[in-house]
Structure formats: C-alpha cells, structure tokens
Symmetry: C2
C-alpha cells in the first residue's frame, strides 16, 4: 500500500491473549458457491478499455472441445470478478501420454494482465504476487484442484509442452468462491440513475470480495488487514451487509497487537498466526479510534467499548504528545502520516485535521465510557484554534500546509471533514477548492477521491460530489472494471504504481466506498 | 528411447483381463528410506567431469543456516543418486511475510544439469521432462512436500522472489527413497580389480533405482517399461537381486496387451491404467521370447510358461512371416528393427541375427511345453544357412549387411551372440572385428556396448571384453557417474541425443548390465 517499505525489526509487540481469543471467536465461516466458466474468450485490441485491451467471446469451434497442443492456450471467462479456488478436468487425447504435461495457468482480474508477460516484470514490488502457476502433471486424466486462492475473472490455460504424440483436453473449469458474506441476503437498492446503479453494484462486489476472514485490502495482492482500508470497509459494510461481527473481529485484532510503546500498527497478518506488521502510520493508528466510534454509532456495544477504549485512549495520548504548546502537530519520519500514496504534496495540515477529526470521535467515546473529557476538550480547542488561526489563509480562503504555505486539496478536504470551521465556511472552502484546485490532479487513489467526495457532500455540495463520484468511479467501469481498483488516475488510466498491471490490485477495499457515499448522502430522502 | 516417434492411433489392442490380474497380483510394495541431504555444494568448473563441471562442498558459513534473499540459491547434495520424494522445511526471517515466496526447485542427477538453464532448451523431446518446479507459498513456516517423484542427487533451491522485508530459511531437506528392492539383502561381491568393483557398485545402483512397480527404463525420463530394457534388466536382476516377481509382472503386462494382430508393443504404461504404447519394433517384440526363456533358465515356472508361450509363439510366427523362402529376413518401415539408436549403419544382418538368436530360445521354450519343434527347427536351419552363405563374406571373414555389403560391428556382434557359426569361427570373427572395426565409433548407447562386450566374452575374448567394459563404463565413473547413463559416446562425452543434458537420463536401465557381465563372465571361476 505505502510506497516506502518500513522495516522496524527492533519493535516488540504485545499479544493480548484475551483480546485475540475474542477475535478468534468472531472469525466468520467462509461461504462457498460453485461457478462454471461462462465462455471462452480471446483478447482483442480495444482503445476504450484499460490498457487498450478487452475480450471477445469465442465462437463455438474455438471452445474447450478442441484439444490443445504445445504452445496453444485458451482463456476462460467466469463472467464477473470472483475470489476462490479453481479446478479443471484434464485428459490426454491421441497416443498414450509419453511425457508429463507442463501447464501454465494465469489468473487475471482484467484482460490487460493476460497481455503482459510476467517474465518482463522488473518492478519493485514482489513478483511473487503475480497470479501465475507452472504445473507438471505426470498422469492424465486428472482433476487439477489448485490449493491457492486467486482473485480473478479470467483464467488462461497454456499448454507449455506435451509431446508430439498427444494433446491436452480441458473440461469442467470451475471456481469455488470464497467470501464471508452472502450477497443474496441484501435488501436491494433502487437507483434511478443508471450510472450510479452500476457504480453501486460494482462497489458492492468489491466490498464482498474483500470480506474474508478479515476485511482484506485486496484479495489478489496484499490480502491482509490494513486499518486505513478497514475504516472505509466498515462504513461501506454498515450501509450494505451490516456485518458488525467482522468489524469487531478486526478491531480486536488491532487492539490485541499494539507495539510495546502502545502504537497500533498499520496492518496485521492472520496467517499462519496473528502477527502485527512493523509498519506504523500516524493517521492509521488514530483511525482505530475512528472505527470504534463509527461502530458505536451504528451498533452500540458496551463490551467492545470497555475492552478497546483504553487502547483508543493510548493512540490519542501518543498523538497528543506530538502536539506543540501552540497546538501545532509536529511529526517526524519515524511515524509518518499517510493521507495518500502521493508524496508530491505537503501533508502536515491534513495530518493536523485528522488529529482533530479523530479527537472529536475520541471525546465521543470518552463520554460513552463516562470518563472525564475536560483535558481532551481543551486540547481539541487548542489544536483547532491553531488550525483556524495559523493554517487558514484568509486571503485565499483556503488552508495552507507546511513552511511554504502550500495549497493542496487534501488540507481542505480533511479540515472540512474534521469540521474545524462552520458549515457555511466549509461550503465556501470547498467551493474555493473547486474553483482554485480542481480538476483533481496527480491523485491516483480511490482512497483520496473518497475523502474529496465526502468533503463535498459534508459541505452541502451534493451535486458537485455526485458529479465527481460518477466521473471517477464511472470511468473505471467504462474502462472495464468489474470491481473497483486500488489505483486509478483518470488522467493516466494505465498508470501502475508498480510498473506493471500484473501487480495492480483491481479489486481493492478502499475503492468500495460509493456504496457508503450513495447510501448516506443520496438515499437519505427516500 | 527411439529417435523417431511412431504414431499408430489406428492400432487396436487386446486387454487380457486374466493376465492383467496376474500382473497386478505381482505388483511389488515399494520400499522407502529417509535420507537427509549430506552437504551444501557449489558448482565448479572441472574439465575432468561431464560437461566441464563438478561440485565442491561448501564451508559451513555457506550452509543452510544463512537465510536467502531474492535471487539467492543453495545446492543440496544427497551424496548419491536416488529416486524418491523431496521435502524441506521453509521459514521466513525478518519482518512478517508480506508477499508469497516464489521458489524454484531443480533436481539434477549430474552437476551439468544445474549449469544449463531450462529456458534455453529447444530440443525435440518434451521439455516437460526437465525436473524443475516453480512454486508459490503464501504462508510460512511450512513443510513443503512435493507430490511428484524425482530422480536426483542434487537439489537446487532458488529464491526467485520474497519481498525486501524478509528472507527465506531452509532446513531439514529430506528425501524419501522409492524402489522395489532392498540393497541390504544382497550378498556382497568381492572384486580385486578396484575399477571393476566401482563399476559393479554403480551398475547395481542403476538397476536398483530403475526397479519400481515395473522395471523402468529411466526413473528421471520415460519412467516406463520398455521390452528392450527389460531383457537386460532381468539378466542383471538374476545376477543380483534375484527378484523374479517383478520380471514375471512385466512379462504378464506385455503378454496381456498385444495389438490385435498379435504384435507386442515396444513399451507399456501402467499409469493411470495399464496401456500399451503404439510403438512397435521387430527385435523388441521378439525379445518377449528371449525374456521368457531367460526366466525359465533361471527359475523354471510352468504356470507362466503355459500362460505366455502362446504369445511368444505369436511373436515368432509373425516374425517368420517376414522371412523369404531363401531364409532372408525382409523388413519394412512399419515394423523396424531397433538394434541401436544410431541409424548410421545398415541393420538388416543384425536383425537376421536377432531372429536366429530368439528362434533358438523359442525352440527351447517349445521343447519345455512338449510341443513339436520340427517346423521351427527347419526355419532356423534355412535362416541360419542364409546368414552363413549369403551374409558372411569369406574374403574379410566378417558378416556384411545390406545391398552395399556394409561392414559394421552390430552385424558381427549379433551373429556371434546368435551363435550362427562355430565357437572357433566366432572367435575369429570377433578378432577380425577388433582389428578391422575397432575402436568402436559413433555408438552412443550402453545398450549396444553391452552386446559388443558380451559378444567378446561369448567368443572367448575375455581380456578384450574386460578392457572394453572397463574403458566404457569406467569412463562414465571418471566423468562423475553415480549411476550409468542412457547415452554415452566416449569420443563425445558431452553428446546429448536431445540437444541438452537437461533431458538426458543419467540413470538408465539398459546401462546397468556390468553387474550381469561381471557375475556371468568374470566370477564363474570363484
């Protein structure tokens, strides 16, 4: 997720057994559905689709009935994005099988992944993520059941080698899906706008395919629980599946495995055992508070509040230690603020805003526990005052960031979300943002776009929010998305942060939020 | 084995259920031994070894204790050639495992296989035989147990990719051997000549590693029952393990699955079910007779004789149909004679000799059954007379072959083995062969060398036989053989019939015969 690898081998972590046991008890039973491949397809050039390629359905003569010789391949289309296990029946046709079969199987979320050769990948992220297997089978017929889980719509089967005496014949390609939630149990939603309806549907599939034994960030790549993604997934979940069990499990996992100094890590692993990652992000640690507060608002639960409030408090106290007397947040590289992948803008004001945003939520949690809020209310006032007096530039009507008084979108968006100013002022700020800083440039994450859209909604600019939502997420659908992507810059649709679409995650948790935005800001009147 | 692929899809085969059931009942229980890797080694240039490379033991600092990062590899040495299943424990060291491990595992019988990159292989034989796997592991630690069987002494583990945050650590590399015979049960043999002693030991290991649920031709490549290999393996087995059960099983397999016209195929498959190959070789079909007769001489068994004599008779009758009135054998491309891989010499006289060789054995079998031999004895006389009068050239004292009256070693060797002439004449022929046709040139198979050496022994040239045996098989040992090879031309030690040592079988059944030759011709006086 973050571009810079943090390696903090020297950090020790607590493993709170009681909380880990609670997390274990909340572990969902995964649900499975068998799906047969819908079609065999071929890759075609298509300038309207991502990377310039889409697929065309094959006519029947090119279907699986034809045995494949050395070098031949077939592409299966399962009709939609899914997560799960693949199996296929394979037989030999011709003379007896006098050599093993060498088979390459490539799984793809988007057609462009099938165009790129994995041998050409030289990016900085591990090539181990490329969903491709090379398999030798000594004896046919067999039912090949791959043990690993993949995230895909397309499967390419390539016969790397047989012998001149026989060919390989494939049949019954099947996918056993894997997710912790059942789409069928959802109440349907009626949206008159067909673009919004499509965006909602794709967002819902994105969320579903990321809901496994934890909220994963991406079922293809990373496949783990990040707290920044969890916050948005939980909000999307409350608008749709309403599965608070999985949210609680994830909160317990983070709460159980803080570093010895109290900081909650940015992500945790759950295989082969629960293990915190040695990556720390200032805003991500604070979002533990945010997720707990969002949960209390959706479904109050005194047990989890009692269990996790002390840990939330620790995050806030650690954060407040970074605040100067003046009320200015001052961070260093050891505990950076994330805000967005891009490091091309100054993040200090957005960081200050996230502290305010989460401090307000923390005060709410403190009230729920009955503890004294005085000291935190004072801090909130000081930090907010600093923002209003020292970070807000009356000349431009916008927040500035850093020593160079940089104007950027993230500062405005987070200050609006933190409601540092009045509603009217927020509306003015966002209007100024639109006039001075739009169109959005050099932002490649649905994560940042989510916050921009939500800030527009929060400040009363519903029309502009809806336009941006439809433009950004709608463009992915136009380009062929079945689920929303980890990275997308509309000005550079083929951009990959990893140097190859093979490494991109085309179903990514933090991009599922249109379901939340639509339900919260566009459905309330119904 | 043969250079030319035969594809005879239109041939139908019988499947004699009764005989197949007998074959099944004789199926051996495989024996297993756990072996830990002896050393970690590194490849070194060594002009005295096969292909110019051998291995050097690593010092302790380079052992498995060191975790491996992306691109690093380690070579395990199991100390000798083995056949079986490989397992290794793998853990991650460093930060939590934030990407799958991509691991390449390459198995090698000889160091040269580790020098060659399988990506460069472009030969005509299926690359599927290359003993290399590419494996992705999502969760560490794990015990990786590969499901396939390999034939190897060396295992190279290469970490293709991890992530910058952790390394892979390997431990407990282990091999579970697989063979149907137990070396420990053998009576030891004392040979004063250290070269012969070494040759005997390596030949015995070759035989053992090829003895699986059938006599395989090569446990690395082909892995199936060829009748030409079986004949030599059975002879070697009678001199060593004396496991007639496996010989009988293999005879029943061939006997049960002749083509509709009666011909026994050159090889059969036993996985996933008993299946005859659609390859036919004139001499190989006749060797069914030879193997049955050799068995009766070693261990008379009236049941198997009764069961299989009619099938042996069919082979002979089919062969005799190819004989002209003059007594000349006349073959065409639909049923070629093998003799040797090389197609650079005329094979007609050698084919005539093999017919005589096996007809004599067939007459012996017929006598055992009590049936009338008259007609076969007459045929034998005619065919032998033709050889003596029309194929033997009195001027040179050697047999000629083909319309161009070619002089080649194979003709002399097989005529001597068939004992067409008197013992004295045979000795003269082999002496002339030595003076006119030696040194042996352009023969690359231990199969042909075996028959040359045996012809020398049979004709009383024990010293010359021993010299050739030691020169040929001893040279393989000098070049680093732990088991004897499928192909070896001493003049071109790096020759591969497949264009790459990656495809060569360095443990091959038809090269194990020194154990038989030594026991039969060099141990009789003890």
């Amino acid at each position: 997720m973050a571009f810079t690898f943090q390696i903090n081998n020297d950090v020790n972590f607590t493993h709170n057994k009681e909380l880990l046991k609670k997390a274990e008890n909340l572990k969902p039973k995964l649900q499975h559905t068998s799906i047969d491949a819908v079609d065999t397809v071929t890759i075609i050039k298509d300038s309207t689709s991502l990377g310039g390629y889409s697929v065309r359905k094959m006519d029947k003569s090119n279907s699986l009935d034809k045995p494949l010789k050395k070098g031949e391949s077939v592409i299966l289309d399962f009709g939609n994005h899914h997560v799960g296990h693949f199996s296929v029946h394979i037989d030999s046709v011709g003379s007896p099988m006098d050599a093993p079969l060498t088979l390459r199987i490539k799984f793809a979320e988007m057609p462009i992944e099938l165009v790129k050769d994995s041998k050409d990948y030289t990016g900085w992220l591990s090539s181990s993520w490329i969903q491709e297997e090379l398999i030798h089978l000594d004896v046919l017929p067999t039912v090949l059941k791959l043990p690993r889980r993949y995230s895909f719509r397309y499967v390419e089967l390539t016969v790397v080698d047989t012998s001149p005496k026989w060919k390989a014949k494939f049949s019954k390609p099947r996918l056993e899906t894997e997710t912790s939630v059942d789409n069928d149990k959802l109440n349907s939603i009626k949206l008159d706008d067909p673009v919004l309806a499509k965006i909602y549907k794709v967002g819902l599939k994105t969320l579903q395919d990321c809901m496994q034994t934890v909220f994963e960030d991406g079922p293809k790549r990373d496949r783990r629980l990040w707290i920044g993604d969890l916050r948005l997934q939980a909000l999307a979940d409350y608008s749709t599946f309403k599965d608070t069990t999985l949210v609680k499990r994830c909160l317990y996992l983070f709460g159980a495995m803080a570093a010895d100094d109290g900081r909650i890590p940015a992500n945790v692993f759950t295989q082969p055992k629960n293990t915190p990652d040695d990556t720390f992000l200032f805003d991500y640690s604070l979002f533990f508070i945010s997720i707990l507060d969002d949960l209390m608002k959706f479904e109050p639960d005194s047990t989890i509040l009692t269990d996790l409030y002390p840990i939330a408090k620790k995050q806030m106290n650690l954060a407040l230690n970074k605040v100067k007397k003046s009320g200015e947040l001052s961070l260093d590289d050891s505990y950076p603020v994330f805000i967005d992948w891009s490091n091309a803008f100054d993040k200090s004001t957005a960081g200050q805003a996230i502290l305010i945003y989460t401090l307000k939520q923390f005060i709410n949690l403190t009230k729920l526990t009955g503890e004294d809020i005085t000291i935190y209310q004072k801090k909130l006032n000081t930090i907010s005052d600093f923002a209003r007096t020292s970070l807000f530039d009356k000349n431009t009507g916008l927040f500035v960031s850093g020593t160079k008084h940089e104007l950027n979108i993230a500062s405005q968006v987070w200050m609006v979300l933190a409601q540092v100013m009045t509603d009217d002022e927020n509306k003015l700020i966002m209007n100024k943002t639109i006039s001075k800083l739009f169109p959005v440039k050099n932002i490649a994450t649905p994560y940042m776009y989510h916050h921009i859209v939500e800030a527009l909604f929060v400040s009363g600019l519903k029309e502009q929010a809806t336009i941006l939502l439809k433009q950004y997420w709608g463009k992915m659908i136009t380009l062929g998305a079945d689920t929303f992507w980890e990275a997308f810059d509309p000005d550079k649709p083929n951009y990959s942060p990893y140097g190859s679409p093979l490494l991109n995650s085309y179903c990514h948790a933090w991009s599922c939020t249109p379901v939340y935005l639509i339900q919260r800001y566009l459905q309330t009147e119904k």
